[in-house]
Amino acid sequence: MDDSQPYYGAMFEGTSPRTGTDFRMKKKAYFKADEADTGLGKFKGLEVRIGTIVDDEWDEPMGPTPMPGPTTLRSWDHKILTKYQPSYMPYCQVCCLCTMGKCDLSGDKRGACGIDIKGQQARIVLAAANIGCAAHLAHSRHLIDHLIEEHGPRTELMQGPGTEIHAPVTRLVTGMRPRTLEDASLILDYCETQMTHTLSATATGQEGSWMDFESKVFHAGMIDQLSMEIADLAQVSTLGMPMADPDAPLVESGIGMMDMDKAIILTIGHNIVPAASITDYITEKRLNDQAEVGGMCCTAWDITRRDPKAKVVGPISWQLRFIRSGRADVVVVDEQCVRTDVVREAKKVHAPVISTSDKAVMGLPDRSDDPPESIIKELVSGKIDGCYISDHSIVGEVATKVAIALKPSRRKMKFFPSKKAIQKMAEDCKKCSECIRACPNDQNVMEAVLAAQTGNMEPLREVYKNCIGCARCESACPNDYDLHSWMVVAGEADCEDEKYMVRTGRGAIQDTEIRHVGQPIVFGEIPGVIAHVGCANYPSGGDDVHHMAEEFAKRRYIIVTSGCAAISMGHVRDENGQSIYERRSGAFDAGCVVNVGSCVANSHIAGAAIKIAAIFAKRNLRGNYAEIADYIHHRVGAVGISWGAMSQKAASIAAGFWRLGVPVIVGPHGSKYRRMLLGKADNERDWMVYDARTGERVPTAPGPEHLFYAAETVAEANVLTAKLVLRPNDTGKGRSIKLSHYIDIHETYYGFFPEDIWKYIRRETDIPITLKDKILAQMKENKWKERKIPDPTLLKEQVIGGGA
């Protein structure tokens, strides 16, 4: 019996995750039947804990790795990590994690615990992935606890029509079909155990090998993906959100969309529960003409999924500009992606803050046990700057009443300085450059301030466009200028003009859609699935996301999106005034743009890839991780892009994709994740696979070339994307389509014909016809030889007949 296998009730006892023996055969004898009788009064509690765990109706055999422990999938990870080795770029040469430090790890020095700099970088990556995973997992737990409370543990989980294979990630990882909220809770038990294990490995004196740290990073990423799927599954099942609906409604978005004739409640964060309490209250009390709710970050998607009358204000980097504008009459924060100085900022514009999450209490006084009326009174009077309310059911009433009460007086206030006033203040600029040095995007704030001295606001407006709204320039300025506000004033007109229609999150992808596109994707005829996800730490504005999406959508790639990227993507209008969501369908099909929803919904992107293996290739998912990841890695031309990746959560989301063998591109700031996972295109050995049909080791072209990559520019990202969708399994037709796009994009952005096309030609049918001559010449020059198209796998056990 493998000790690394944790114990989950009666579920898995006696089952080795390695041998794959059908666990249902192996219940242990220590459960005495009479005990079931004695405790009859206790059954209620007991019964709940299990639900569909012993799933006698599921005839899919259990795979080898249900509920894997931290090292169960290690050998798969090592395969991937050998092919895509970490390239570390230490963000700091020292370690400060324990009191034997700080340890200088420069050169070949080791810390007092024996760790070297590679191990240390990997450890920090693991810590980040754990923090990111914990954020989603704790969010998921909160949701499940709340929904069980509200709806009961036997509430059924559903993903909507055409999703017979619901919860593909869960099936794959745990070997379970989660059918009720109670099952969901059990799965989170598993997730929490795993996260504790992987986090513990970061402690001083635990793991020492970068390879094993990285393997645990993958584990944390997989757990993260699982917990996100559970979270979205639960909320979709219970909160009236679109269910795998390609026609999810278009909703209003942008600062300019907020109706200032109503009281405005701004919700920030990721957890729908308190926000839903607000929209529900407004609907129930028919206050829609008096108050409206706008969301930022993922909460924006989730409230509009529940209530399309709510609005999507903008991505995370819009927080400060929107709060400062004074438009919000009350600010309700839940968890994740909340500016930690929100109370201080909201106070400046006399807007009270209601914290609703134990993750981000923000030092506010706890009013959870007070009657709503007394809380409202305190908030309206300004006696307190805000409060913490852990009981979500009263948040709706409190927030709405406070906003409505405050609106009249707040509409009379002015919060921004006039352009004149700015010009005047700007005269005292010390020209110290501190604002530039503080800016993560290296914006020339100082020059813009100097221009403002002469009344020219255009440079400040330009800065606004590239600005992530971090306010570091301000806090660095010795004159205490409200520089970010100045930019917003300079960009006022742009703000007002921020009016877009965006399609809210649809949830999962339908099996029927997969059935439709599975073959063209696996054969390469739909050239790729490109997922834009994550935060808004853009190097030069959010338009880039739209640009990248449109570039590939128009080439009939499938574009999937979620989170802040999905907001930014919608914040560009074409000549007809339409957003990409208005122009393109929300179906999972070529040339469409599929917004799955908030960050937790991005598990459906992985889910879609997994379902391709199940539906098109008829592979078993159940507890069968390595085989499916191997399948996806070699056959599904998917690429994740997180252009503004910022947080630890983005890191763990990426890690979930890595373990599935899906490459991820991040923007230039992503280099600060301090390690890439890179292939060596010219190292033939790295690209050998088994041909599953014969067991032979055969060479393939380097595809996908990298697993994690920070691109310097949109140009580089586009060229790389076109290349990363290449897969060894492409058919001739598929390969030639992918190569045509790669060539075209390469020529567009780099100005010349790519020199490595010959490498990707296996036989003549791979050659795009229109470019045949050029390519043939290149092939000749490089002494090209024909190769076979294998049935590619990295897993010896996948070879027919066991690879003997």
Partner: protein
């Protein structure tokens, strides 16, 4: 902080190892004379940065010619080289480059490596910072010289957050030194 050898982005402190302040081209002489294979790395911001009558791509071309240096353009800067009719540049990603340079046997896309000295500029400040961290920590065989205006602590030599005018002057002096030195 202008003219001081401290990280330009104020938070980007590194570790105990830090670049030397490059204020006179002469200090490079020793390293230049020891270097056998030089690589010039030019990033995406170069085409938009003025230098003399041209831009920093023109400077790269001149430097490459003067010092017989191979050029790798990152982040799409290659397009500018091609548009200027310069043939000697190849393209690679910045992150790939930071990785491959760690291999002491890597010959590079020109097939003429391995390199023992790099000169670099034109990537976003923070990204170059991380690239150079990879090189400093894992490619001890390479002498990295940062030619951007702002101090890069992970290089061996870097300008100390130069004033604009002085910066362009010293660039020209380096061009001369490199050309003269070979």
């Amino acid at each position: 902080m202008v003219m001081k050898p401290v990280p330009w982005q104020t938070g980007e402190i590194c570790g105990p190892e830090s670049a030397k302040s490059l204020t006179k081209p002469d200090v490079l002489k020793r390293d230049l004379s020891k270097a056998k294979k030089l690589l010039l790395i030019v990033g995406s911001e170069a085409p938009d940065e003025k230098h003399g009558k041209g831009d920093m791509v023109d400077y790269a071309i001149a430097l490459s010619k003067a010092g017989k240096m191979d050029v790798i353009a990152t982040g799409g800067a290659i397009k500018a080289f091609i548009e200027k009719g310069f043939e000697g540049a190849k393209t690679m990603g910045a992150m790939e480059l930071a990785y491959r340079l760690q291999d002491p046997e890597w010959k590079g896309p020109h097939g003429r490596g391995p390199y023992d000295m790099i000169m670099i500029y034109g990537q976003p400040y923070y990204m170059q910072w991380t690239m150079l961290s990879g090189v400093m920590n894992f490619a001890p065989q390479i002498v990295p010289i940062a030619l951007g205006r702002y101090f890069q602590p992970h290089a061996k030599w870097s300008f100390p957050n130069m004033k604009e005018k002085q910066y362009h002057t010293i660039l020209d002096e380096i061009l001369e030194l490199v050309g003269g030195g070979k």
